[in-house]
Amino acid sequence: MTAFRRTLAYQPKLEWNQCVVLKKFFSKLTTPIDELDAAKLRTFCCGVQNVTPIGDLRAREEVAVVGEISSLRIVPRAGSSWLEATISDGSGSVVALWTGRRRIAGIAPGRRLVLKGRAAPTPSDRRLTIYNPAYELL
């Protein structure tokens, strides 16, 4: 409800360049339960040693990150196939991509894990991708 009230707040003189600001404003838009969950996740991730917060990742660096699988992507392709998961730790999200695999036991939405690998820019969007990371389920 608070989320609604916040979005209902009227924005006068809306122009296009302000839309981006507005989007950022909307990105904060979560219900208290969500915020609570995010805080829980952050606390959990901070407890893991020797990892980089996802928000601080830079391309072409060997890294270890910890996070929760927020979504799992199944890409049906004849022939080759891969498994793609979005991992978030509260500071940002990164894509983990395993090629040649349709399914990996334990990789499911909601699971927490540590990933090790090299981050690379994703061609289609602003996130980074770690190809074939080594992983350890927590």
Binding site: F4, T7, L8, Y10, P12, K13, L14, E15, W16, C19, V20, L22, K23, F26, S27, L29, T30, T31, I33, D34, D37, I69, S70, S71, L72, R73, I74, V75, P76, E84, T86, S88, S93, R102, R103, A108, P109, G110, S124, D125, R126, R127
Partner: protein, 651 residues
């Protein structure tokens, strides 16, 4: 279902082309436009007496002041009628107080007039209906206990008739109005004849319940206080309510409109004045006792005619003209609300014709407000009267002041005369406004005085909102420039069924840059199963699976979309929801309303489009389909049925 009920009650829709613009003759226009004004003679006399005779003084004292008060009201009537004749000539397209003050006095006076008039119309309904019911109760006092119920029933009836599109048709208005006029003239005539022959007696007070003999016996030595006199005058002044109706309806007259309308105005003034003054003089002689169960007119009618046929006709025609008076407010209130809405001070809904070519929303608001007043004041006319005159005279004053400005601005032929007439009108009606507001403040006039400022404030806020919205939406050539928009489409799927397939096909046809199906899994088993099916059915778009820690659909979807939104700049996300639509409304209850909740949650977000792809199904057909599926061995796994909450996302 709901539409069937509406069809039965309201009737079938009328096309815009059928809107008639009929013009009416003076003989018909008189009852149509003046039933409101003339009907007030049915209670005005009684209301003066109710104040002067019962309000702490004696009947004899009250009676002696009745005729002078009536005379002053009559003079006021003459002033107002002459003033409004000016308005009729100046505004042949119809010049209510709102229009005149808006054009000549500016924003605030015009919305003051608007607020006053809206309250005035609500009170017209409440007062007329309660007075009409009192006229019926006067025949049989046993009905008094059901007063509020009868009032509400009558309001419901009029509301329904108006929602059906009851026009101010002359055929409906003329008979009761003329019958009432004839009956009151007859009453006065017979009384005069009897009086001349010396057999017009007083009412026997002992027979009237609730009236104490000592009221009469008290010596006539004392005098009414000025305050009480003014209070009595204020009650009498309500006789003028509705006088302005003709000036609103000038376009309805035959050519030459203004001349005909002005003539009708004069006739109305003469009839109203005669009836009002006549009943006051008669009351002076017959001495009715103010009572809420037997109106002054009824008491006089019984005294003069005897309890016979004529008495009944008098009462019935009184009730009829009062009902019609309430009905005129049903035409005026929505019409004014429409004008105000057109200027942006009221929600736009008031601007729209309903499907019977009437302003349905205005009618419903009026019915609700007047019913509330009836309930609060127990349907007693005397209790409602003090609220009434403030709005009426505020509107009069503003209209007259507007006319003064009009004359000064345009300086047409004989403008000096016009200024004189309308200035007199302004001073007189303003004076009355003050008298009413002060003398009746404690007994009820405070209600409109307190209500009007908030209403004006709301008007201004609404106007501000509309202005702001239209400024923010306004397009200038600089803004119109090519804006590269990337499209992302998300199809929500719960399990794979026909509706989902249709939605996926639709989503693919959008040819967006990014296309993805979204599944919300309650647990890992569900996620696995969905994954398996996605491959089994050979779905050719990527599927994203998110988990729902609280076994709930809306929040994970919102979270995912937020995340998606942050991946690209300047993108528009289209959320495609397969919506399972059942053909019978009662079947709707069997499916949970997730689609609706999602739509509600996404509605307030910029750059997100929600599309629902309906999948119509008939219960029987679905069963047959299930049968076929089972027989063909193409089993959709039964465990999916267990996930009711995510079932199809749109169920």
């Amino acid at each position: 279902m709901a539409s069937t009920v509406k069809r039965i009650l309201v009737g079938k829709p009328i096309a815009s082309a059928d809107l008639e613009h009929q013009r009416i003759r003076k003989l018909i226009a008189l009852p149509v436009f003046s039933s409101d004004a003339i009907s007030s003679t049915a209670y005005a006399t009684g209301e003066i007496l109710a104040v002067t005779a019962v309000g702490g003084s004696s009947l004899a004292l009250g009676l002696s002041k009745l005729v002078p008060i009536a005379a002053v009201v009559a003079v006021l009537l003459v002033i107002v009628v002459i003033s409004y004749r000016q308005t009729i000539f100046a505004y042949p397209s119809g010049g209510g107080s709102y229009i005149v003050s808006r054009e000549n006095l500016g924003e605030y006076p015009s919305i003051l007039a608007a607020a006053s008039l809206l309250i005035d119309y609500i009170l017209t309904v409440a007062v007329s209906i309660s007075a009409g019911v009192e006229a019926i109760i006067s025949i049989n006092q046993n009905l008094a206990n059901e007063r509020v119920l009868i009032c509400l029933g009558l309001i419901a009836l009029i509301t329904l008739a108006n929602l059906r599109g009851l026009r101010e048709s002359g055929g409906l208005f003329a008979p009761p109005t003329y019958l009432y006029i004839v009956m009151v003239v007859l009453l006065l005539g017979v009384a005069a004849w009897k009086g001349m022959h010396g057999n017009l007696g007083h009412i026997d007070y002992a027979s009237t319940a609730g009236f104490r003999e000592d009221h009469l016996e008290r010596e006539i030595g004392g005098n009414l206080t000025l305050f009480l006199l003014l209070k009595g005058f204020s009650s009498g002044a309500v006789a003028l309510s509705g006088v302005e109706a003709i000036s609103n309806g000038v376009p309805a007259f035959k050519k030459n409109e203004s001349k005909n309308a002005a003539a009708t105005m004069t006739w109305m003034g003469i009839i109203l004045g005669t009836l009002f003054f006549g009943t006051a003089v008669l009351a002076h002689h017959v001495r009715p006792v103010p009572s809420s169960t037997k109106t002054a007119i009824a008491q006089m009618g019984e005294q003069v005619f005897g309890r016979g046929v004529l008495f009944f006709i008098l009462q019935i025609s009184t009730a009829a003209i009062l009902t019609l008076a309430a009905n005129t407010a049903y035409a005026d209130f929505p019409r004014l609300a429409q004008l105000i809405a057109r200027d942006g001070y009221l929600p736009r809904q008031f601007k729209n014709f309903g499907d019977r070519l009437v302003f349905s929303n205005g009618i419903i608001v009026l019915a609700a407000a007047s019913s509330a007043l009836i309930i609060i004041f127990g349907g007693v006319t005397t209790a409602l009267i003090p609220l009434y005159a403030v709005g009426v005279f505020t509107a009069f004053t503003l209209s007259q002041a507007g006319m003064v400005r009009h004359h000064l601005k345009l300086r047409e032929k004989n403008w000096q005369f016009g200024v004189g007439v309308n200035a007199t009108g302004t001073v007189a009606t303003f004076g009355v406004t003050l008298i009413v507001a002060i003398s009746k403040f404690t007994s009820g006039a405070w209600v409109p005085i307190v209500l009007i400022p908030p209403i004006m404030y709301v008007f201004i806020r609404i106007k501000k909102h509309y202005t702001r919205v239209s400024t923010s939406l306004a397009v200038t050539p600089e803004i119109v420039r090519k804006q590269a928009v990337e499209l992302t489409t998300v199809v929500l799927v719960g399990r794979i069924h026909k509706g989902v397939l249709r939605a996926v096909e639709y989503a693919k046809s959008l040819r967006s840059q990014h296309l993805v199906a979204l599944y919300v899994a309650n647990d890992e088993a569900a996620a696995r199963e969905m994954e398996r099916q996605w491959e089994e059915f050979g779905m050719d778009i990527p599927l994203e699976i998110v988990s729902s820690p609280y076994r709930e659909l809306v929040e994970p979807v919102l979270k995912y979309i937020e995340d998606l939104d942050s991946r690209w700049e300047h993108d528009t996300i289209t959320v495609v929801i397969p919506e399972f639509v059942v053909t019978r409304w009662y079947q709707q209850a069997l499916h949970n309303q997730t689609a609706l909740r999602l739509k509600g949650a996404l509605l307030f977000r910029e750059g997100i489009v929600v599309t629902s792809v309906p999948y119509l199904t008939d219960g029987d057909e679905a069963l047959e389909h299930a049968q076929r599926v089972r027989e063909s061995g193409m089993v959709i796994h039964a465990d999916n049925e267990a996930h009711q909450s995510t079932d199809g996302h749109g169920h």
